[in-house]
Amino acid sequence: MRDDKPLNIYGQRFESRLLIGSALYPSPQVMQEAIRASQSQIVTVSLRRQNSVSAGDDFWQLIKDTGLTVLPNTAGCHSVKEAVTLAQMCREVFATDWIKLELIGDEYNLQPDPVALLEATQILLSEGFKVLPYCTDDLVLCQRLAALGCEVLMPWGAPIGTGKGLLNPYNLSMIRQRLPDMTLIVDAGLGLPSHACQALEMGYDAVLLNSAIAGAGCPVKMAKAFNHAVQAGRAAYVAQAMPEKDVAAPSTPTMGMPFWHQSN
C-alpha cells in the first residue's frame, strides 16, 4: 500500500482532489450548487478585461460565497505579455499569488503554446507568483517547467471542452514516473467520471475540470459523480492494483472440487 498524503499545492494541503471551474453553467445558482456537490475546495475563475473589480463584483461575490480557495486563470491569452498582465491583474483582484497559467497557441484546438508558456512561467515565478502551468502532455516540457521551479504541473488529458478523456495515457504515466515528487493535475479534456478515476488511479494528484460538469444535463448530479470517481481513483492508487497478467489465474482454488476434470 502507498502512503496517502493530502493534495499539496505550493505548501497548502487539500482533502479534495477535484478542482472545479466556474464557467458555462446554466446559471450562477446551478454553479453554486454544483460546486457544493463536487466537494471541491478549489475553484478556478477567469478574469476578463471587462471585469474590473467594481464592474465584475456580482459574479465575483457569488464565487466568494462558495468559500473555496480561488485559483485565477489566464484563459484566452495568446501572448506572454497578455498572460503576464492578466496574472498581475488577477493578483490584485483576487488577492492571491496563485495563477493557473494558460497560454493558447492554437485558437481552434486551444492547445497551449509550450514555448511561450516557458517564458511566461519564468517571468511570473521571478515576480513571486505560484504558477500552475496548463501544458500539453510532453515529458520534456514538463521537465523544463519543473526545472524553472514549478511545484505543480497541469498537463492536459485532451483539448479543452472536448470531453475525450485521457488521449495519451502512456505520456501521462511517463510524466508521473519521471517526476515522482511533483504535484500533477490532469487539466482539461475530461468528459466522464471514469476519465477522472483513471487519472487518479495512474497516480495523478488531482484533476481540474469545468465543461464535464457545467455542460452535463444535470451539473449537480455530475459534480457528485466526479467527486465519487476522484475518491475511488485515489483509493485505488493508494491500495495499489494487482499486477496485470496475460494468463487466467482462477480466483477460486480447484483442489478438492469433486468434478473439476469434467470440464475437459
Binding site: 465584475g56 456580482d58 444535463g217
Partner: protein, 341 residues
C-alpha cells in the same frame, strides 16, 4: 369616473409591454432615466427573437412554455400599434461548421419537448430550400419551424407613438425616487399612485437583491447582398451566435454573454468574433455596412429566471435575462393579472 393612477418605472421592453396592457384602464405616468424614448435598456439592442424551443436548450421547460404562451400574445399587442411592426413566424434555422458538429448534436439532444413545437433535422439540400443563399455552405442543420422574431426598433417607436396619443405622462432623463409613506401608499417623487410597476431592469439593481447584469454585445449591419428568410443560429464554441434579419436588409448579429457589470463599448475581440461568424455563414456580409456596435447589460437573477414581486402597491418585474422578447408579454400579464387586469 377618474381612472386609477399607475406609475411605470422604466420605459424599456417590459415597461412598454406593461404600458400597452394598462393604458386603456389607467392613467399612466412613465418615468425613464434615459433622456429619450427609443434607445434605452437591453430591449433596444436585442435581436428580438421568439425562440422558445432553441432557448429550451439552456432554460427550464416551464420558462420555454412561458415563451410559447408569449408568442400567442405578441400579435395582439402589436395589433394595438398605429404603425406596422414586423412580426415573423418563419422558424429558426440552426447550422454548424464541420468542426462544430459535436455542438450541433449536443444542441439537438438538449432540445426540450414543447407541445406543438417540433424540430426537424435538415440535410444540405433542405437548408438550400429554406435559405437559397446558404446553398452548399452547410451539410447539416436543424429547423425549428414554429419560432419567430419581431422588429424591436419598430416596436419601440410604435409603442411610444401610441402611448403619446393616450392618457400618459412621460418623464424622461430625470431621477426619480420610489417611496412608501406611513399609510403604505406608494409614491414616486412625492406623488401618490394607486400602483407602481417597477420595470427598471438593471436600473433596479440597488433595490433588488441578487440582480446582476450579464453583458451582451451585438452588431447591427446593413447587408444589401444578403437575404435570409429567418433568424439563423450558428453553433460556436463560446456563445450561440445568431443572425436575425430585420426589414431593409438590416441584420442583428449577436450576442456575447459575459459575466460582467461593465456596459462600456464593445471590445475588438467580440466584434471580430461576431462579424467573422456572420461572414462564415454568408460571404455577402463582407460588404455589409456596420450600422452600430453595441453593448448592454441583461438583468438576471442568480437562477437566470424572471421574478415578479409585489410589495405594498409596488409590482416589480425583472430578471428576464436573455429572454426579454421571448417572455415579456407572458411575464407582464402574469404580474398584472391579479390586481390590475
Amino acid at each position: 369616473m377618474k381612472k386609477p393612477k399607475v406609475a411605470i418605472l422604466g420605459f424599456g421592453l417590459v415597461g412598454r409591454v406593461a404600458a400597452l396592457m394598462l393604458h386603456e384602464q389607467y392613467q399612466l405616468s412613465i418615468f425613464e432615466a434615459a433622456p429619450n424614448a427609443n434607445d434605452n435598456g437591453a430591449g433596444a439592442l436585442a435581436a428580438a427573437m421568439l425562440a422558445p424551443m432553441a432557448e429550451s436548450v439552456i432554460c427550464d421547460t416551464d420558462i420555454a412554455q412561458l415563451g410559447v404562451e408569449a408568442m400567442g400574445l405578441w400579435p395582439k399587442l402589436l395589433a394595438m400599434l398605429p404603425s406596422p411592426v414586423m412580426y415573423q413566424q418563419t422558424g429558426t434555422l440552426i447550422v454548424a461548421h464541420q468542426q462544430d458538429m459535436g455542438d450541433l448534436r449536443s444542441f439537438s439532444q438538449r432540445l426540450k419537448p414543447l407541445a406543438g413545437h417540433q424540430a426537424q433535422q435538415l440535410t444540405g439540400q433542405d437548408i438550400a430550400k429554406l435559405e437559397p443563399e446558404l446553398a452548399g455552405r452547410f451539410h447539416q442543420g436543424i429547423y425549428l419551424p414554429s419560432e419567430g422574431q419581431l422588429d424591436n426598433q419598430a416596436f419601440y417607436q410604435a409603442s411610444f407613438e401610441l402611448l403619446q396619443t393616450k392618457d400618459c405622462r412621460f418623464y424622461f432623463g430625470q431621477s426619480f425616487e420610489l417611496q412608501h409613506d406611513e399609510h403604505s401608499n406608494a409614491l414616486v417623487n412625492d406623488e401618490v399612485f394607486d400602483w407602481i410597476i417597477d420595470c427598471r431592469g438593471i436600473g433596479a439593481k440597488k433595490q433588488l437583491a441578487g440582480l446582476r447584469g450579464v453583458r451582451g454585445e451585438v452588431a447591427r449591419v446593413y447587408a444589401p447582398e444578403v437575404t435570409l428568410n429567418r433568424p439563423v443560429r450558428l453553433m460556436h464554441p463560446r456563445y450561440p451566435i445568431y443572425i436575425a434579419p430585420k426589414p431593409n436588409h438590416e441584420f442583428v448579429i449577436g450576442a456575447t454573454e459575459i459575466e460582467s457589470q461593465d456596459d462600456g463599448p464593445i471590445t475588438v475581440r467580440s466584434t471580430l468574433e461576431l462579424l467573422s461568424a456572420a461572414y462564415t455563414v454568408h460571404s455577402g456580409f463582407a460588404e455589409a455596412r456596420v450600422m452600430a456596435l453595441n453593448a448592454g447589460l441583461r438583468p438576471a437573477f442568480t437562477d437566470n429566471r424572471p421574478k415578479i414581486s409585489v410589495n405594498a402597491k409596488v409590482i416589480s418585474i425583472n430578471g428576464l435575462y436573455r429572454h426579454g422578447y421571448l417572455l415579456a408579454p407572458a411575464v407582464v400579464k402574469q404580474a398584472l393579472s391579479k390586481e390590475l387586469l
